[in-house]
Structures are given as C-alpha cells and as structure tokens.
Amino acid sequence: GAGVSQSPSNKVTEKGKDVELRCDPISGHTALYWYRQSLGQGLEFLIYFQGNSAPDKSGLPSDRFSAERTGGSVSTLTIQRTQQEDSAVYLCASSLMPQSSYEQYFGPGTRLTVT
C-alpha cells in the first residue's frame, strides 16, 4: 500500500515569505508526527496529532510555526515569515496508534531552503 507522502519535495523561498508543507499519512493511521532535521540541531520532534488534535504544541520552535490536521488525515505545517534558520528537512511520520509499540513510518521529507 501507499506510504507516507510529503509535498513539495523541495521548496526554496525568500526570507519573510510564508510556506506550507503537506503530509499525507498512511490511510487509517491515527497518529501523525512532525520532525525537523537540520545541520545544527539534528533531528527534533516538533508536534504530534492524535486524530485532529495536537495536545502539546510546545515543541514548535517559535510562534511562527503552526500545524493542523483535518479529517484525521492530511496535515499541514505552516511557517510564517520564514527565516534562514528555518532551512531544514521537515519529516512527517504516522503510526496506527500513538503508543510506542506501534512503528512510526516516515515520509521522504520536504527540504526547505530560505534564501
């Protein structure tokens, strides 16, 4: 079956612009996760959705970052007024259930470059 997909694969944007990154999880997976992979910080966990709700948004790097999930499926990560330090690969993962015993399946990521 289809895996986790993310779009766009690559995005180049100018500093100060807003960007939207999309994640399509595996059908039927209730849990969805966003991670950021950057040279300076390594892999960081950003946010988790159970269904459409995100119980803890404290992992988002700043208030310029927001995320939503609609219909218990597709999720978008929005970065407003992008800065050069936002340049990174943004990875999305999904799992059937949120417990750690369930494997997280990762998408190929979106490489964001802020010029």
Binding site: A31, Y33, Y35, G42, L43, F45, L46, Y48, Q50, P55, D56, G59, V89, L91, A93, M97, P98, Q99, S100, S101, Y102, E103, Q104, F106, G107, P108, G109, R111
Partner: protein
C-alpha cells in the same frame, strides 16, 4: 528530558565484514523503547530494529542485532556481513513507553561507509 548520544560521526567497514555502531542514552524512566533507524540519501527514515527496555533478550533482525545494556544505558547496533546497500546514516532513538505526545528523541547519527 532524555538524551541520546552517538559518539561516532562516521564509520567505515569493508564489504562482508562486521561493524558495530555505538549509542548511549540518559533517562530516569525504567521502561522505554530504543530504536535504530537507517536514513539513505533518499531521506526516508527506515526502522532497522527496536528494543523494549523491559525485555532482557537482545533484539535481532536478520543481519542486524543489538547489544542492550540497561544498567550502562548502552544500545549498540551490530551489522554482520555488511553489504553495499547498508551505506547510510544510522540514528539511534529513544521513546517513552507511553508514546503519544512524547516523540522520538534522536542521536546525531553515524554515517556508515561500506568499502567494496
């Protein structure tokens, strides 16, 4: 907060040989999960192997096995009969047993090079 440390930024091994990647972690929890993920140039993270902390037996998946030392908080990955397709970044990761809002905590990664 938990931390994961991979002290080997890069490792090189001859094809068909065995290589061991190191990982240590810090936690105050008694039950948790540990993982090794592989990330090839395609960027997609692939689960290699996982270990539940309450299980004393080391996990094994074909050519991949772990040496889990709970008291020492050590979790190394052994790759036997290395193949060219094993070349990738390898990340050690930790997750609390409850999961949910506790995402994976990753180490900085080890770049594994396979020499033909």
């Amino acid at each position: 907060a938990q931390t994961v440390t991979q002290s080997q930024p890069e490792m090189s091994v001859q094809e068909a040989e065995t290589v061991t990647l190191s990982c240590t972690y810090d936690t105050s929890e008694s039950d948790y999960y540990l993982f090794w993920y592989k990330q090839p140039p395609s960027r997609q993270m692939i689960l290699v192997i996982r270990q539940e902390a309450y299980k004393q037996q080391n996990a094994t998946e074909n050519r991949f096995s772990v040496n889990f030392q709970k008291a020492a908080k050590s979790f190394s990955l052994k790759i036997s009969d290395s193949q060219l397709g094993d070349a990738a970044m390898y990340f050690c990761a930790y997750r609390s047993v409850g999961g949910g809002a506790d995402g994976l905590t990753f180490g900085k990664g080890t770049h594994l090079i396979i020499q033909p």
